[in-house]
Every structure is written in C-alpha cells, then in structure tokens.
Amino acid sequence: MMKKFSYPLLLLAAAMTFSGTAWGAEEVVTDSGTTSWMLTSTALVLLMVPGLAMFYGGLVRTKNVIGTMMHSFAAMVIIGVLWPTLGYALSFGPGILGGFVGWDSKYFLLQGIDDTIMSTQIPEYVFAMFQGKFAIITPALIAGAFAERVNFKGYAIFIALWSLIVYSPICHWVWAADGFLFNLGAMGAIDFAGGTVVHISSGVTALVAALYLGKRRGYPRNVMHPNNLVMTLMGAGLLWVGWFGFNAGSAIASNLATARALTVTQMAAAAGAFTWMIIEMFQHGKATSLGVASGILAGLVAITPAAGVVQPSGALALGALAAVFCYLAIVLKNKLGYDDSLDAFGIHGVGGIVGALALTFFIRPSWMADAAAKVGGSWTVWQQFGVQATAVGVTIAYAAVVSLVLLFIVEKTIGLRISEDEEMSGLDHSMHGEQGYGLINLN
C-alpha cells in the first residue's frame, strides 16, 4: 500500500525534449489536496512520539520518568538524523544484495529527490518525511521492554544500529516496490501501515531485549507503581489521535482508501478498549484506566496492517481479538516472570501478530476478487493466510536473531544494562543529572 512510485522529473524532461508536447500531458503535478493531507499525516505521526514518551513516562517510577521519556525523544533526535542520511536510501532505494536491502546513492541525504513529484502526486520529500516518522517511533517502542534499567549511551547506539540493520531491511521487503514480501502471492503480503515493519519488529525485539537484559532489581517481588497515570492517559490519547495520520496517511492519498482506513482505525481502537474494559470488569470487578489505555493501543496495533483491506465489522473483530490476546499475553508474562516492563511485546508484538494474521479472514470481497483476477483464477483466504504467515514469520525470525546479536555487541562494548547502584538511584539522576518533578509525587 505504501509502495513508492516515482517518476523522476529528470527522465520526464529528457523525454519531453525528444517528443515535444505529446509527453507534456503525462507530467505528474502536485495535487494540493493529497499533499495537504500527507503533510498533516506526517505531523500527526510525529505527535505520536511525545505521546509515547508520556504513555511510557507515566508508567515507570518517579526516579525514572525523565530517563524513560528521553528514550522516545532520543529516537526522534537520532533517527531524525539517520533517516534522511541513510535510512531512506536503505529502505526505499532499489534492491541490492539480492533484495536484502535497498540502496541508491542519490538518496544519500535525500539529494536526488529535490525536484521529484511521485505518481501519487505528492512531492517525494513528503513521502520521505512521512516514512521517517515511522522509522522514529519504531525503535522508541522497544524502550518499553527494558525501561528503568538501560544505559542511555548504550540505548542510543543500539537504536541507531537497529534502525539501519533491522528496520530498513524489513521496511524494504514489505513496502518497497521491489521488496520480496511486497510481491509475495497474488497481491503481496498485506501490511497497510506497519503491522510487521513497525509493531512485530519492535515487539519481538522488545521481548528479546527484556530476556537478554534480565529483570529490574526487585522484580516481580516489589510492586512498581506507575508514577503518573494522568500522563499515561494523555499519552494514550495523543497516540490515538496520531494514529489517524499513521493509518489514514498510509494510503498515500486523500480519497476513499483514506476514509476507509480512518474509519476502521477509529472503530478498532474503541473496540479494543471496550473489550479490555469488559474483561477487567469480569476479572477484577473494576475497569482500570491503564486497562482502557492498553485496550486502545491493542486495537490500534491490530488494525495497523489491516486498515486498507478490512471493513468496519472486521475492524470491530480485530480490535476485540487483539484486546483478548494482549490481555492473555500479559497474564502469561506475569506467570512466566520475565520483565517486559511496559509490555512492549505484550501489546505491540502480540497485537501486531494477531492483526497481521487475523486480518485475512476479514478482507473485503472486492480485494479478494482482484487478487483472484491477478493470478488468473482463484485466490483463497488460506492462500493469503500463508502469505501473511510468511511475512510474520520472516519478520519475527529476522528481528529476533539480528537484535540479539546487536544487543550482545552493545552490551559487551558500551554497556546496556546499568549498574545496580545506578538502577537504585534511578535513570534521571544517574543518566541525566536531572529530576522529573519538584516537590510532588514520591514513589
């Protein structure tokens, strides 16, 4: 869906000199409506990063609030530099090394796109920046798994390496026009806005990181209360709002596809929160605010890959399914005792997998008919399920193995897990020399 079609003006100009006005009619011009919406979407997706900072920041203990929010802001800063420099070329350049990753030296520092208007009638700069926001939020999501115990320097190096070596290749496979998952089966693996690229890749990495780095000191014996659920709720709200840019912007259009994506995004988020609330009412007799926030996220994550292909009934089903599975995943986590501190895997990993697989059963009939027509015969739900499962499996395997190697390298060179003394003092003091609050809120 995010496929990048580009008609470099250079080529067009060259052609025009030969064939005169006959080519003039095909010149791609900017469509102001589409461009406006894509600019808005780009800003909305960036809004999700401070939203995530607030969501995660509110969930940790007081002594770690700044350190945790800095994880999101560091992603904004570090990937903000890396993406236009290398990330975009690695993700959306033509495939090299047998399609393992993209590369085109003309995308280095975005040099080659200064005049490019894409066939979707938006300047390529907008597309590159829109994609850049996805590259920013993805590593920031991982930070939830090793919250409260990671060295800032090690974290910074880790997300930089991860973005180049894990995110860019997966992004290339799934979204670049010549990516192998993009072209798998009849009409490719369905990942509208980042179920595999963003949520499964970060969620699986989160699980690996939580297991590799080990538990926080005192976990799970000591209860570690969120320092500020008010901030967490505001963060969840910002994420929901930003997600309209994330999903509805991923149509790279401003038309029917955009409206469909926006509608199912709204419905899945609400269905996820509603389901989580009901489960909690039955299980504990009380609906918690953190439960509602988690349900919102579970629904949003699950609809992310599916926003282009499911209808409203499917959106409700996916939201509800994601809430059930994520809830069970967190129950299971507590039984198993590993410390995915803010449930980065429990929500993003599990929700992403549920969404990417279950969407198969809710695809709108016209999409299936198109797929069947394209392969010149029939295309069944189970064939598409096979394609989805392949994309999910490849993402899980690649993200898990490469992340483990990266974690190992960073831990052994710069150091990722902080010392016991630093952990007791808190990240705010030991990593940043600051404190989050004045006289309020001690825990």
Binding site: M424, S425, H429, S430, E434, Q435, L439
Partner: protein
C-alpha cells in the same frame, strides 16, 4: 522511644529504604523536602549550570523503641553515604518521643510502634 529524622539525598532513598527493610525496620514515613545545607548542588538545566537556592532532599521519619535506635542509625549512616562521603549526604536528628498511639486499636507506648 525515639523519633529518628533523617535528611538524605534523593538518589540514596532506595538504598536506605532497602537497607532498613533488611534490618527489619519497616515502619517509616518518607517525604520530599527542600532545604539549605553546605552542599552547593550544581544542576544542568538547558545546558546552563545553575545553583538552586533550595536543594531537594528526602526526609525519613522513623519512630523506634530504644533497642532499635542503634541499628537504625548504623543502617542509615551506611546506606545514605555516597562512597567515602560527600558534602550534602545529609543529617540525622534524634528526639525523645513522648507518646505513640496506634489509631486502629488505641494502643499506646512501645507496643504501638
């Protein structure tokens, strides 16, 4: 009965709290306070070094029976100190405690502590 009041650095709170629990001193009250001491606390704020007038501290209030005074003091002294000791590590005040009453049962004196 004594009331032990300790003023310590915020980043040593968990060290002290944990050490106290290890020493079976589990009934404590903790608050955030600010004050002036000999310490000149330099913080980095938006790239500028500033010396705040009032320095944040943590105050622990612990009511103990006589036989627990020494162990409480030793525990705090060991856990609250940075390395070999820094200006600003804090102070401990000990005051006689006239009475202690548990609200739930109205018990008084040493057994209410």
């Amino acid at each position: 009965m004594k009331l032990i009041t300790a003023i310590i650095q915020p980043d040593r709170l968990d060290h002290v709290r944990e050490a106290l629990i290890q020493a079976d001193i589990t009934r404590i009250t903790v608050s955030r306070v600010t004050g002036h001491g000999r310490q000149e606390d330099i913080e980095i704020y938006r790239g500028q070094k500033i010396a705040p007038n009032l320095i944040p501290k943590i105050r622990l209030d612990i009511a103990v029976n006589e036989e627990f005074v020494d162990v409480t003091l030793d525990t705090i002294l060991d856990a609250a100190r940075h390395g070999v000791g820094e200006v600003g590590d804090g102070k401990i005040f000990i005051t006689p405690l006239e009475e202690c009453i548990r609200i739930r049962t109205r018990e008084k004196g040493g057994k209410a502590i």
